[in-house]
């Protein structure tokens, strides 16, 4: 199932009369983009803004960040199960506007674990240095939905508008010659038997929340009743998966499914002849012990019998409870002789090691810990604040103190974070 990324670097986004790709400049015609967005039910009007890397700019609250990508004819479709029929994602050619992002803002503060200000995009200063998102050219999309729309319908409109726009923009590259291409293919029949077989188990949702009605996470499905599922790594990269609306702890964005740091790193090491990337399992963190016992065992069983792995890396989604599912899966794998490393967020509000983890299995001893709780910044006022309304703009005006968990991209749980807990 080979996937080819046709990569078109974008160095600048600029307004113009018609939407097109001119070398490394993405020209956008707002009227055309507006036509795309207003086809989505529930959206009454929309505003756009262009933001450059390093600009003195802050935008929020962020709903999601999506890389503009479009499928060339002949392969799998764009966003199967969501924008297209539910075919298997991950094969054929995908055109990528690398360096660009479609970033959509919420109209209200998400509240609860997202805090008053929600997730904020910082484009300059110390907070920006910790997030890959600050290096991108963003098309900021500010939708205005019908008053009184229920929250789930509103968020479905956001999602649909954002994905459609991202595809629309990347279609400008369908006939262009990419700067480079990148192959993702595990079907080589060369003899690799001496290399360790490594699998990936990734949580894609946490049942700390019930999915919203109609929430689209895996091929348009909401994960309700889901058992751990085998996925080809290319499915993660090419449109099978979306993060939940509840991305607590700044944990996940569509951009890092498309550019999944764990999957691309396993591919890189596979191609370097250091390991055999044997495949992936998508799973969810459970809400109760029955589900937890079943899901962790099913997940581990797939790694053992279907993927025949010698080693496995695991990541979690959401907050504290998913530590339990993550570590229990790793423990079962270790008992089966499969070596594991897990990635967690640090839960210690008191900055003490004893409070950092929700597990203490001696076997689960290889832990990557992206911190978060001891990093915050005092951010200054910026030249440009972009928000859906004046109340939100006032909250984001600065100066204020912001936790790393609220700066989108910093404490990312898909493997992109460069933050690390250091024990002293």
């Amino acid at each position: 199932m080979p996937l080819t990324l046709a990569i078109h670097p974008v160095k600048e986004i600029r307004s113009g009369a018609n939407t097109r790709l001119e070398g490394t400049i993405l020209v956008i015609a707002e009227d055309e983009l507006r036509d795309v967005v207003l086809k989505v039910p529930g959206i009454e009007s929309v505003d756009f803004a262009i933001v450059r890397p390093g600009e003195s700019c802050r935008a929020g609250p962020i709903f999601d960040v999506v890389e503009p990508r479009a499928k060339a004819p002949g392969g799998s479709p764009d966003w199967p199960g969501i924008l297209s029929a539910p075919r298997i994602a991950g094969h054929g050619t995908t055109h990528v506007l690398n360096g660009a992002a479609v970033t959509l803002l919420r109209e209200q503060s998400p509240g609860e674990s997202g805090g008053t200000m929600g997730y904020v995009l910082e484009m300059s200063g110390a907070a920006a240095e910790g997030s890959h998102y600050a290096t991108l050219n963003h098309l900021i999309v500010i939708p205005h939905t019908q008053p009184g729309l229920p929250a789930h319908a509103q968020q479905k409109s956001y999602r649909s508008a954002q994905l459609r726009l991202a595809v629309f923009l990347a279609r400008t590259a369908l006939d262009a010659i990419p700067e480079r291409t990148q192959e993702f293919d595990l079907s080589s029949d060369e003899n690799r038997t001496a290399l360790p077989r490594v699998a990936y188990v990734g949580q894609i949702f946490s049942r700390q929340r019930k999915p919203e009605p109609d929430e689209q996470i895996l091929y348009g499905g909401d994960t309700d009743g889901m058992l751990p599922t085998l996925l080809h790594p290319n499915e993660w990269l090419d449109g099978a998966l979306l993060p939940s609306y509840h991305v607590s702890l700044g944990g996940a964005g569509t951009y890092f499914y498309q550019n999944h740091p764990v999957i691309t790193e396993l591919y890189r090491r596979h191609e370097a002849g250091e390991l055999n990337f044997t495949g992936t399992v998508a799973t969810i963190a459970s809400a109760d012990n029955f589900d937890r016992e079943r899901n962790t065992r099913f997940g581990a069983n797939l790694v053992k019998w279907a993927l025949k792995a010698d080693a496995c890396v695991l990541t979690k989604f959401g907050g504290g409870v998913p530590h339990t599912d993550l570590s229990e899966t790793a423990r079962i794998l270790e008992c089966e002789g499969i070596k594991t490393a897990v990635q967690v967020t640090d839960l210690a509000r008191d900055q003490r090691v004893e409070s950092a983890l929700l597990f203490n299995f001696p076997e689960v001893n290889a832990i990557v810990c992206i911190g978060g709780n001891s990093t915050k910044w005092r951010v200054p006022p910026v030249a440009r604040v972009i928000a859906a309304n004046s109340d939100l703009a006032e909250i984001l005006a600065g100066p204020f103190e912001i936790d790393s968990l609220n700066v989108v991209g910093v404490a990312n749980q898909q493997g992109a974070s460069r933050l690390r807990s250091m024990v002293y």
């Binding site: 090691v353 001891s374 250091m422």
Partner: protein
């Protein structure tokens, strides 16, 4: 730099175990290892006073000894207080730790000590202090004092302090974040490859070890027992009168259920993120099972249900908070003569 140095009777040159009852003495200038310390600190550092005390005396009269020592250290106008190193000596380590903590807290000058990680003083004080890992061999005095002097100079100079393996101190069990070159994904794959090949790897976090909690004896006769309900699921009366925080709560509340057989959603709210509270909002008995407890009470299966429940929020709550709140709740329940508690969580 003016330095005050603390030594026990042995390192102070008074004698061994037979002199362990020696009361606190102050001597002018450096004594024993203090001479080397002075030399290693350099830059005109001077040990202006050495406090010597017998280990037994110090442990048995700790409060009085601490007070007397603090007075002398303050009077000496010291910039730095050094205790030990104590190696494996347990009483010495305990006293050195207590002294350093007191000086740090009450006088506010830099302090440094050294101990073996197995020294009980290390266990007690390593979170609050920089304790150089001295190992258990006093023959390594020069090495240990070199590291103590080096870290002491950084502390008095208000320089950034590095990590335990660079500076040689016993890990304090605290966390701070740092941005590193490699992404979490790169670190994750690198770690699992090392592990599967049997090579060493450096886990970024260690799981804590907790002392097992002994199982309490069972309730002898439930029919005569007074029971109580406690929850950490964040159920509070509408308006959250005690302002219990929804995350990392520092407070807990006591709420009456007198004359009530069934909790109604309209009277309560949830102060607790991290779980989907809609089912508890519909019927709070799902979290605080008052309805079934009342049935058991009516049927005579239990003696009595206490007419208040305790509540807090367990979300992302560090152990330093929950230990304190747990202790407070247990004390209160004991005072109330409660025989058994049903704890409900989410």
């Amino acid at each position: 730099m003016r330095v005050v140095h603390y030594l026990n009777q042995f390192f102070g040159g008074v004698g061994g175990e037979e002199s362990a009852g020696l009361p606190l003495e102050a001597r002018d200038g450096a004594v024993g290892p203090g001479n080397l310390l002075e030399q290693l600190l350099g830059d005109g550092a001077r040990v202006v006073m050495t406090l010597v005390c017998g280990d037994n005396y110090a442990v048995e009269n700790q409060q009085a000894m601490l007070a007397a020592a603090l007075e002398k250290i303050a009077a000496a106008k010291a910039d730095l207080f050094v205790a030990g190193p104590c190696f494996q000596a347990g009483r010495y380590g305990m006293v050195a730790g207590a002294l350093c903590c007191a000086v740090q807290g009450k006088i506010g000058i830099s302090v440094i000590t050294g101990m073996a990680p197995e020294n009980p003083g290390a266990d007690l004080y390593r979170e609050s202090l920089f304790i150089i890992d001295s190992g258990d061999n006093p023959a390594k005095m020069r090495d240990v004092l070199t590291r103590m002097a080096s870290l002491a100079k950084k502390l008095t100079g208000k320089e950034a302090i590095g990590y335990p393996k660079d500076e040689g101190y016993i890990p304090r069990g605290l966390i701070r974040d740092r941005f590193v070159e490699k992404t979490a994904a790169e670190r994750l794959v690198e770690m699992v490859l090392a592990k599967v090949k049997g090579e060493p790897f450096d886990s970024e976090m260690t799981a804590p070890a907790f002392a097992p909690v002994p199982m309490p004896p069972g309730v002898k006769d439930l029919r005569k027992a007074k029971l109580m309900l406690i929850t950490d699921g964040g159920l509070v009366p509408k308006g959250n009168p005690d302002k219990i925080q929804g995350s990392a709560a520092t407070r807990w509340g006591v709420y009456s259920i007198k004359g009530c057989d069934d909790l109604k959603g309209e009277n309560y709210e949830i102060s607790h993120g991290g779980y989907d509270p809609q089912f508890v909002r519909q019927d709070p008995d799902r979290l605080v099972p008052l309805d079934v407890m009342r049935e058991l009470e009516r049927d005579g299966y239990i003696g009595e249900l206490y007419n208040e429940f305790f509540s807090t929020s367990g979300l992302a709550n560090p152990l330093s908070n929950t230990r304190r709140m747990g202790r407070e709740m247990a004390e209160r329940a004991k005072q109330l003569g409660i025989d058994a508690i049903i704890l409900t969580s989410t």
